[in-house]
Amino acid sequence: MINFFSYLFVLLIPLLLILIVRLKRRRRVVYSHTFLRSFEEERLLDYLLRTFRIYYDVLFDLIIAVVLALLLSQIVRFAPRRTAICLDGSYSMIRGDQQTALHRAVARALEDNSGGRSTRLFLVAWDRKRGKTGIFRLKEPKILRGTDQATRSAIIESYTDELRQKHTFFNVDLSALQEIFDRGYRKVVFITDRLPAGDTNLEVIQVGSEESPFFYPASVYYDFSSASFQVLLYRSDYRRQIAVLRYDEQLGNFTVIPAAEQSIPGSELNAIEIREEGLYRILGPGLDYIYALRVPIRVVNASGLYSRILAEVLPQLENGQSRTLAADLTYSGEGKRQLVRQIRSLGRYQHKYITLIPESYTPARALIYPLELSFSQPSYAELPVKFDEMNSLPTGSTRLFFQDPERTRDGQTPLVYLSYIELDNPIEFSYDGNFETRGWSVSESRSGIASFTYTRNDELRPVNLTAQEFFGASTPIDLVFQPRRINRLPYFLILLVLYLTKLLFLLRFQRGS
């Protein structure tokens, strides 16, 4: 408000000067009012009209100054006062067998939305097409008034199931909620199963309570720097210890090995370090999981400059004769034909781990698809220097990122379950002369398209070997969003109308009728 008055004061200075000049230039004549008495003995309306004729331009300038001050101070934003109800589309919302958090969130959202039409329902979830978190406008189910509770529950149930089928519940980047604010919503109700840790200007509704004591194997990865496996466990029940057993081929049985469980600060994860390969059994509270740990070095048939560099730089890759092809992605010419021939030569082998490395259009950044690591999600290999200098880098200096852990809220999602989810919907790689979208598509136009078949091995093995950063300690993120920037169009329209009206009055009074 102070800004408004400050701007108004500044804008009124020229107006004041104009008034002073007009006062100075005002002509004063002596004349009788005898036949001008009609000007004096006018009614209030006539008086106002006469006064308006004198000061109409000042009046319009004043209004324009007020509008400009409002525009500059941004007091009035011309934003709709609607409320957006946004459902959390992270994986944890659909975790569980019985009534999921999503089910409760939908019920709560429909309950909140039943009152008025000024609310809109959204879902923030993983957008497969764009390869990042997106905002989806949801069409609310029609629940007529007077619907009994059973019918209502059935509608909510079916609606929840429909949401689960249509959308991918995965790690979500809550910064995408800014899009809702950008659309003009001033109030965003975020229904989630977990309250954000940092500050937020969202109205957060937490549905459901904490889960019952759980124990999930979150992830397993091989840390090349320490040459050990890190088994990440996601558990809430610490009253019982976890035992690690290794399969002894000679004994034909599992034997307990000493393994320390270390909690990862800032997360609910615990890590168990295992140094040797082998078959392990981890006994948890009520559950046990079997891991076949192997050092995840994949021999790939590297083809092309970038692929060879990556195979040399990345510790988990080795260049050699393999049916896993790592090839530079080319779009035309001999390179493309060669790539096609190479892919065809793979035949219909079931396990086709193909890394397509696009041509470098950003010298310091290459896009790769380590499909077996990222569940077909696009991931970025951040190469700190240009490829020409890659040979001089020490091995292991390149890091693989899946998503920005700083902005990923649901970092603790046990991806192993996602693996099984993907198993239910296997997607085959196909090629008919052109790369065709049969699976994931990526927003980058030149990044190419790849699909990937994920098949469960008979033996248990770490299926989502991920970068360590993925489950690193994440600091609390402030989910404070900027309301929509001021919408200047209405101001310009108002100013245009004011100027035109002033011009019309000017013409009217100058020309007369």
Partner: protein
């Protein structure tokens, strides 16, 4: 310094040559002879016996020869018509060129005196302020000039009240009204009190003010009010319409009502001639 137009003498001389009527005085005719004054006209008033205080020259010697008695013949008084010059001295006259105004009145007065009329000057604003009565002969023009020189133009105009007052007090038959007529209540019907009325309207047209298209403050010194207007073509048109309505109230001529609108830049001499023409009409 009030002057008289030098053309006045010429106007009088030419008008005297033009019309023989101007050589002879206008007689007063009264309905009731009782109130007629005794004088030296040829109109017999009375015949009576000589009294010791009578002038011997008035004895009718022919009658003495027939009757052997002294008789005196009395005639009615011969008198020129008295003109009342009503001079508006309200504050609104300040709009006009007062020098022009005074000169005009002085010149008219001179012409009338030259033509051997008796003039009475009455200065007024909302009431009669000052009078200068029974001015006869052109030699007394200095009285008129002094009178006009003393005038102060102030206060409001109340023409209706003043005309009624003059009509009741002096019962003039012919008046010459010098005014700007800035009185809303005035109508030509008000002037029916007088047998003949010559209305000399001193008027400054709005267009003469050369107002620019901007804000103007119109000050009325009579009302002590100021009217703020945005002077633009629309306002100008409205003001001209009102002005026309105002002027059209007076612009008519009948046998007894003569209207002359005089603007400050106008040549005065034609008005003198027209006035004399109307006077002897």
């Amino acid at each position: 310094m009030i002057s008289i137009d030098k053309e006045c003498q010429t106007v009088c001389r030419l008008f005297s040559k033009k019309s023989i009527r101007a050589k002879y005085p206008v007689y007063v005719k009264s309905e009731n002879p009782i109130f007629k004054k005794k004088g030296t006209s040829y109109d017999l008033k009375n015949l009576r016996e000589y009294q010791p205080f009578d002038d011997l020259r008035q004895i009718d010697w022919k009658l003495y020869g027939r009757t052997d008695r002294y008789y005196i013949k009395e005639f009615f008084e011969e008198e020129n018509e008295r003109f009342y010059l009503l001079v508006d001295t309200s504050a609104s006259l300040n709009i006009f060129d007062l020098q022009y105004y005074r000169t005009f009145i002085a010149s008219i007065a001179y012409i009338l005196l030259k033509l051997r009329f008796t003039i009475n000057l009455v200065a007024f604003n909302y009431r009669v302020q000052e009078t200068c009565m029974n001015v006869k002969d052109e030699k007394n023009i200095s009285r008129v000039l002094d009178f006009l020189g003393r005038l102060e133009f102030a206060e409001r105009t109340d023409l209706v009240s003043v005309l009624k007052s003059v009509g009741n007090r002096y019962k003039p038959s012919t008046i010459l009204l010098f005014s700007d007529l800035f009185d809303r209540n005035l109508s030509p019907e008000t002037l029916s009190l007088f047998r003949r009325c010559f209305m000399l309207h001193f008027y400054t047209a709005i267009e003469r003010l050369n107002l620019p298209y901007s804000e103007i403050e119109i000050e009325d010194r009579e009302l002590q009010k100021t009217l703020l207007l945005s002077y633009n073509p629309l306002t100008r048109r409205r003001m001209l319409r009102l002005e026309q309505e105002f002027l059209s109230r007076f612009e008519r001529r009948t046998r007894n009502y003569h209207y002359y609108r005089i603007e400050a830049t106008a040549n005065r001499v034609p008005f003198y001639w027209q006035l004399l023409e109307s006077l002897y009409d």
